[in-house]
């Protein structure tokens, strides 16, 4: 559904990344790994149509993003920013309802159908009990779930998540990752970035390694997340250890 062709992206004239080609299938979860300043966020903004490509194209179902109005892009691709502290004390329900903006004309206010979609999104993430709470007063993990619910309320086909597990505690990280896993089951494609390569094993079908603005590897986690590739990305020695009993793989840096 999303075709990235020979993309160069960045701010102004300065390219952060070049030569990126990637195709995303419906329902696929793609995990983006790369060091700080590696261009993950800039790439996401380009995929969302917030930044114009410096070269190449991003195609949504075959149509160039640059030619689509914002609402059409937002209907298909939803953005989940890092859990942030919003300024004004909106209720969680109101925040989630904002995800319907792409489905409404500029002068319209949300109606019963929109409120129902917001309730479904709250229920899908198991945070219906937070609906009346004030967004600025709930925990970081709850905010992240609320932001995912907001994205889902717009009924998108692709979710772009910028480090959804950053600044979350261990339990909330696991909860958010399991929700991402479920999104794929619902047929919603996900592109997410993370700083923990172990997360790629937990929730991703494919992993893309971004280094120096270039795609250095792309494939299933077991093939791409290796001690060699992680050394290249992060400059540290990493052990990638399968846990046969749990059917999982963990990554841990070798220090000291």
């Amino acid at each position: 559904m999303l075709d990235i062709r020979d993309l160069a992206f960045g701010y102004g004239a300065r390219a952060v990344g070049t030569g990126l080609t990637l195709t995303l299938e419906p329902g696929e979860a793609l995990c983006l790994l790369g060091p700080n300043g590696g261009g993950k966020t800039t790439l996401f903004k380009t995929l969302l149509g917030l930044l114009r490509p410096l070269a190449g194209r991003v195609l949504l179902d075959g149509t160039d993003l640059a030619t689509l109005p914002r609402r059409a892009i937002a209907q298909a691709i939803a953005y989940v920013p890092q859990a942030h502290a919003a300024l004004f004390p909106f209720s969680v329900r109101d925040v989630v309802l904002m995800g319907r903006a792409s489905r409404l004309s500029a002068f319209a206010s949300p109606g019963p159908a929109d409120r129902a979609a917001a309730e479904r999104a709250l229920a899908a993430l198991g945070i219906g009990h937070l609906a009346e709470r004030i967004y600025t007063e709930i925990s970081g993990g709850e905010r992240q779930l609320a932001l995912i619910a907001r994205a889902l309320a717009g009924e998108p086909r692709l979710l772009v998540m910028d480090e959804p597990t950053a600044s979350l505690d261990f339990g909330n990280q696991a909860r958010v990752l399991s929700q991402i896993r479920r999104l794929s089951d619902l047929g919603i494609a996900v592109v997410l970035s993370t700083h923990d390569p172990g997360h790629a094993f937990l929730c991703a079908d494919r992993v893309a390694l971004l280094h120096g603005g270039r795609l250095v590897a792309l494939g299933p986690p077991a093939e791409t997340v290796t001690p060699d590739s992680l050394r290249l990305l992060y400059g540290v020695e990493v052990a990638v250890v399968p846990l046969p009993e749990q059917g999982r793989t963990v990554c841990t840096p070798l220090i000291g």
Partner: protein, 354 residues
């Protein structure tokens, strides 16, 4: 727990709707009637109602003869009514513009002056006073000055095109405001200290003393035109308060909507200050109080700000013409009443930015 929350929610919403839709307008109406009665020449509340009823409906209420007392009629209809109506319109407009600016600029310390509308209007008015122009021309210059200042700021913001368009606008507003302030100071130095300087000082502190029905008629179209986009885009306004990038990601054409909202709020403010002079604090403090009462949803915040702003300025103007034997400029009272209240709010409010 989730069940009780679900039951409580509509009840609370209905309560808020009742307060906003019935109680607040009723309280405002009472305040207006009381304002019309109080002054150097007191008029009993019943007589105020009779006079208004006679004027509006052509019928007599309570069977009293007071409605026919020509002095009372003149005081209520000719002297006080234009002032009270002016306070309602200007207060409502400034508060609505303030609520809009605070949301747009994601900053609760923002007032309608942030993009230089007051400074531009002041320069226009001061220029008119120094040139000894007629009142209508001074008002016209003030109105044009306010719009020109914001237009300049917006053009600079558009030309600079940094990553954060909102921050660029605010900084450009600060710079342009400083330039306009310098020009105003220069004109004050050059002005005739006996005739013009007092008039300038009085204008810069704001007053409804000279508001005429004609003034009101002149600014109402601009007010209506300015309020229209705020009303129409009331839900979109919530998304604008998330910031440019997030709003765009959610499907909002911020590059089209922001200038429309800025233009609307600016039009309202310029129209208001062109008649009354600069009245600070209303646009800053009233949206805060409104947000505290009805929450940040602009669909409720806008009507609440309109009502509260109208009530606040009506009450302050009542003080302005009754506390002392001389007319106290509004700008002094809005700050004198507003600043301590604002500090109290700051100290007691538990919600961030509420």
């Amino acid at each position: 727990m989730s069940d009780s929350a679900r039951v409580a929610a509509p009840a609370r919403t209905r309560l808020r709707g009742l307060g906003l839709g019935v109680l607040a307008p009723a309280a405002l109406l009472l305040l207006v009637l009381v304002s019309l009665g109080i002054g150097r020449y007191p008029v009993p509340l019943a007589d105020v109602v009779s006079i208004l009823a006679a004027k509006l409906l052509g019928t007599k209420l309570f069977g009293t003869s007071a409605a026919l007392d020509p002095t009372m009629q003149t005081v209520v209809l000719q002297v006080r009514l234009p002032r009270v109506l002016g306070a309602l319109v200007v207060g409502a407009g400034l508060a609505a513009a303030g609520a809009t600016y605070q949301g747009l600029f994601r900053n609760p310390l923002v007032s309608p002056d942030i993009l230089g509308v007051s400074a531009g209007a002041s320069l226009g008015a001061v220029l008119g006073i120094v040139l000894s122009l007629p009142v209508a021309a001074i008002q016209g210059l003030a109105f044009a000055g306010g719009l020109a200042a914001v237009g300049t700021v917006y053009a600079i913001g558009f030309a600079v095109r940094r990553h954060d368009p909102v921050l660029t606008l605010v900084l450009a507003g600060v710079a342009v405001g400083a330039l306009l302030g310098a020009a105003i100071s220069l004109l004050k130095v050059l002005a005739d200290p006996y005739n013009q300087l007092p008039a300038i000082t009085f204008w810069l502190l704001g007053s409804l003393a000279s508001a005429t029905p004609g003034d009101l008629g002149a600014i109402l179209p601009a007010m209506g035109l300015g309020l229209a986009p705020l009303v129409l885009l009331r839900w979109r306004m919530n998304l604008m308060s998330l910031g440019d990038e997030e709003a765009r990601a959610l499907g909002v054409e911020t590059r089209r909507i922001r200038p429309v909202l800025v233009a609307g709020a600016t039009l309202v403010t310029a129209a208001a200050v062109s008649v009354t002079g600069v009245i600070g604090w209303v646009g800053l403090i009233v949206p805060h109080v409104a947000r505290l009462l009805v929450g940040p949803d602009f669909r409720r915040l806008l009507p609440a700000s309109l009502l509260l702003g109208a009530a606040y300025l009506t009450a302050v103007d009542l003080l302005a013409r009754t506390v002392a034997s001389i007319e106290v400029p509004l700008g002094i009272l809005t700050a004198l009443v507003g600043a301590p209240f604002f500090l109290w709010l700051l100290a007691t409010s538990r919600r961030g930015w509420a």
